[in-house]
Amino acid sequence: MQSSAARKMTPEGWLEPPPLPHHYDTIENHQAALRFGMWLFLGTEVLLFAGIFLGYFVFRHYFPESFEQAARHLSVVLGTANTLLLLTSSLTVALAHHNAEHGKNRNAFWLLMASVSMGAGFLGIKAVEYTEKFHEGALPGKFFSFSEITAPGGPVFYVVYFFSTGLHALHVVVGMSLLTWVAIRCWRKEFSPTYYAPVENAGLYWHLVDLVWIFLYPLLYLV
């Protein structure tokens, strides 16, 4: 952010908003464009995951037994812990958005950092789960060698499992980077009641990451 150095601090204790791009007439219009763009992007993400959810339902329909057996071999405790982590991190992101909107940049910074740590916690637990699967041979396709799933279709379940959770984990990493980036900008006191779209957008992305997991969790672990 080379522009932040040149920007003045206002009496309220935050930086002036960055100069308005020349093709917008008001800052509100610019913020609205950024927000709308993010919502559209989230729409593309939903469709990206829709394909893999479709795969889940198709294969669950083909192999209901092995999907039930496989679900029983996933740790509901770890899965629930991860769900709680993500839900809480979504809450702190929402609070950070609220604080940034009122110019309380420091509060927003700590709340965002809390969300990032919870994201890291989520990935840690996911790594534990993955390691266990690797040891058991509960792996996709030709790597499948897990003797406890007796019904046909086990390899396909683990394709769905690893592909969906792997793609989701990638989104967690991207989301954490985005949150860290806006957290740094919070530290520099860049956000104010007139300019907070980046926090809002990073937050929206994180809520999507949460939302996808809210669907993956019951489908993979519970039913």
Binding site: F36, G37, L47, A50, G51, L54, G55
Partner: protein, 553 residues
């Protein structure tokens, strides 16, 4: 600070080339490669898609030359498979998807809305780099890995072929990202950056068409992205998602693939339809007939296009009910297209038509769209499709739409907007000659293919029985004519860039908003925020002498 825009008028005699424009605002290579100006990004895209068109065309000629004789002609069977794979992938993902939206959409959409730029100029430039990166990876993969799956990369062949298709899949995935960025940018631009006076129903019809296209790009492309990732993962790691031996389902691939690839046809053809709606008013010197109908039918096509993909699976074990439903939905596209065609013809009726190259392309477009569309309705009829499935009839049908209609739209746009983009005119006589050659060559190439397909010649075959020889020769001859036409266009446009007659602000006497800015436009498009006091296709209040002004015939 607002100033009402003046009515587009007669080009002043001896128009002078503007001293300052987007073309000379920065002359270093760096100023082009790092530009955020939507017009310069449009030109970057233009260069890229023309290279793609050239490459795809060369591979098409190799295919046609190989099919000149029943046996082996110039390449081996495996090379032949690679050639049609290269041809299909380049033409679809590198040329046709970005051709009209990313070039003419980028250039004219902001101007037509009275905006200075698109909503997110940096992302706009990013999309070009993403496109270049994806295309490079895809081409590198195709040339070194020798993929021979055809552009549809059906499983299980694509996941078990010994050729290296992983970089190709990743390349397509990355190009998809660029397509999403462009579409997203346009949607946000249309929603947030319309100038005062440009209400939704005062937007030029090209903008409506690009809007419908962008919705498809944003909603369908992610599914293709996921599909290519799955195929790449399956080919590399042996996942078995689409492999029946491991419990997977190859038909699932077809569903996912066509969920994108059927609407993708409308990503290609809708912008071409938008071009025709613009150009047809200018050449007929008449208000567009049925503005709202044309605008809404674009959205209608985009909508029903999402539910028609099953017509590619008639012979893949679909239930009779599904097949019937998908057939009926597919035919609805024909209804929306017909609405457009009737409105266009209604616009021409009693118009003061200037027989220029853009008009010649409109004629070609209408013929190819109607003929291609009718054969599309025929193909959507399940019982007929069983006979034509995977024959040259299908090849001819989609080339009528995708090459016929889309290329006619692209060339009409290129000729109609050339004076605006570069400030100079092209020679009309050469333009008409090339247009004639192309329309003729195109018919000569693909009408024989309808006959071949109906007689039972399957697509993608390297050799064919003796009785198909005559029609194949005709098709190859037509393709040569087509290529010749393109070469002529390339030459006279290249010369016109530098030596063409100076166009002036509005050489066509068009009423489109974009003709109210200088040719070529200045970097900021408008000196002040424009206020549009009329609709984009309103000709009725044009004084008599203006109606006569046109391009020399």
């Amino acid at each position: 600070m607002t100033a009402p825009i003046t009515t587009a008028g007669v080009p002043p005699a001896g128009a002078v080339f503007p001293k300052k424009s987007y073309l000379n605002d920065g002359t270093t290579i760096r100023s082009w490669l790092l530009t955020h100006d939507h017009k310069r990004i449009a030109l970057l895209y233009l260069v890229a898609v023309l290279i793609a068109l050239f490459l795809g065309g060369v591979f098409a000629m190799v295919i046609r030359l190989e099919l000149l004789t029943p046996g082996p002609t110039i390449v081996e069977a495996l090379t032949y498979n690679r050639m049609f794979t290269l041809h299909g992938l380049i033409m679809i993902f590198m040329f046709m998807i970005p051709a009209i939206p990313a070039v003419f959409g980028n250039f004219f959409l902001p101007i037509m809305l009275g905006a200075k730029d698109v909503a997110f100029p940096k992302w706009n430039l990013t999309s070009w780099y993403v496109y270049i990166a994806g295309s490079t990876l895809m081409l590198w993969g195709l040339i070194t890995g020798g993929a021979d799956t055809g552009w549809t990369f059906y499983t299980p062949y694509s996941t078990t072929t010994t050729t290296n298709i992983t970089p190709v899949m990743l390349g397509v995935f990355i190009i998809g990202f660029s397509s999403i960025l462009t579409g997203l940018n346009f949607i946000v631009t249309i929603h947030t950056l319309r100038a005062p006076g440009v209400t939704w129903f005062r937007m030029p019809l090209f903008v409506w068409a690009v809007y419908a296209t962008s919705i498809i790009q944003v909603l369908a492309t992610p599914v293709l992205g996921l599909t290519t990732l799955l195929v790449a993962a399956e080919h590399t790691f042996g996942f078995g998602f689409f492999d029946p031996a491991r419990g997977g389902d190859p038909i699932l691939f077809q569903h996912l693939f066509w969920f994108y690839s059927h609407p993708a046809v409308y990503i290609m053809v809708l912008p071409a339809m938008g071009v025709i709606s613009e150009v047809i008013c200018a050449v007929a010197r008449k208000n567009i007939f049925g503005y709202k109908m044309i605008a809404m039918s674009s959205l209608g096509i985009a909508f029903v296009g999402f539910f028609a993909w099953g017509h590619h699976l008639f012979t893949s074990g679909q239930s009779a009910f599904d097949a019937g439903a998908f057939a009926a939905i597919s035919m609805l596209v024909g209804v929306f297209t017909a609405i457009k065609v009737f409105n266009w013809v209604g616009t021409l009726y009693k118009g003061a038509i200037a027989f220029t190259a853009p008009f010649a392309y409109i004629c070609g477009f209408l013929f190819f769209l109607v003929f291609g569309g009718m054969t599309g309705v025929a193909l959507a009829t399940v019982s007929l499709d069983v006979h034509w499935q995977d024959t040259y009839f299908v090849v001819a049908h989609f080339h009528f739409i995708m090459v016929g209609a889309v290329i006619m739209g692209f060339l009409a746009a290129l000729h109609y907007w050339f004076p605006k983009m570069f400030g100079r005119k092209y020679p009309e006589n050469w333009g008409l000659l090339a247009a004639g050659l192309i329309v003729l060559g195109f018919n000569a190439t693909f009408i024989p293919q309808f006959l071949l397909g109906n007689a039972g010649m399957p697509r993608r075959y390297y050799e064919y029985p003796e009785r198909f020889a005559a029609l194949n020769v005709a098709s190859t001859a037509g393709a040569s004519l087509l290529a010749f036409g393109f070469i002529i266009i390339a030459i006279y446009l290249a010369i016109s860039l530098k030596y063409g007659e100076v166009a002036g602000r509005n050489p066509w006497g068009s009423r489109g908003y974009e003709w109210d800015v200088p040719s070529p436009p200045p970097t900021e498009n408008f000196d002040a925020v424009p206020v549009f006091t009329r609709g984009p296709h309103e000709y009725q209040d044009v004084p008599e002498e203006l109606a006569k002004v046109g391009h020399a015939i």
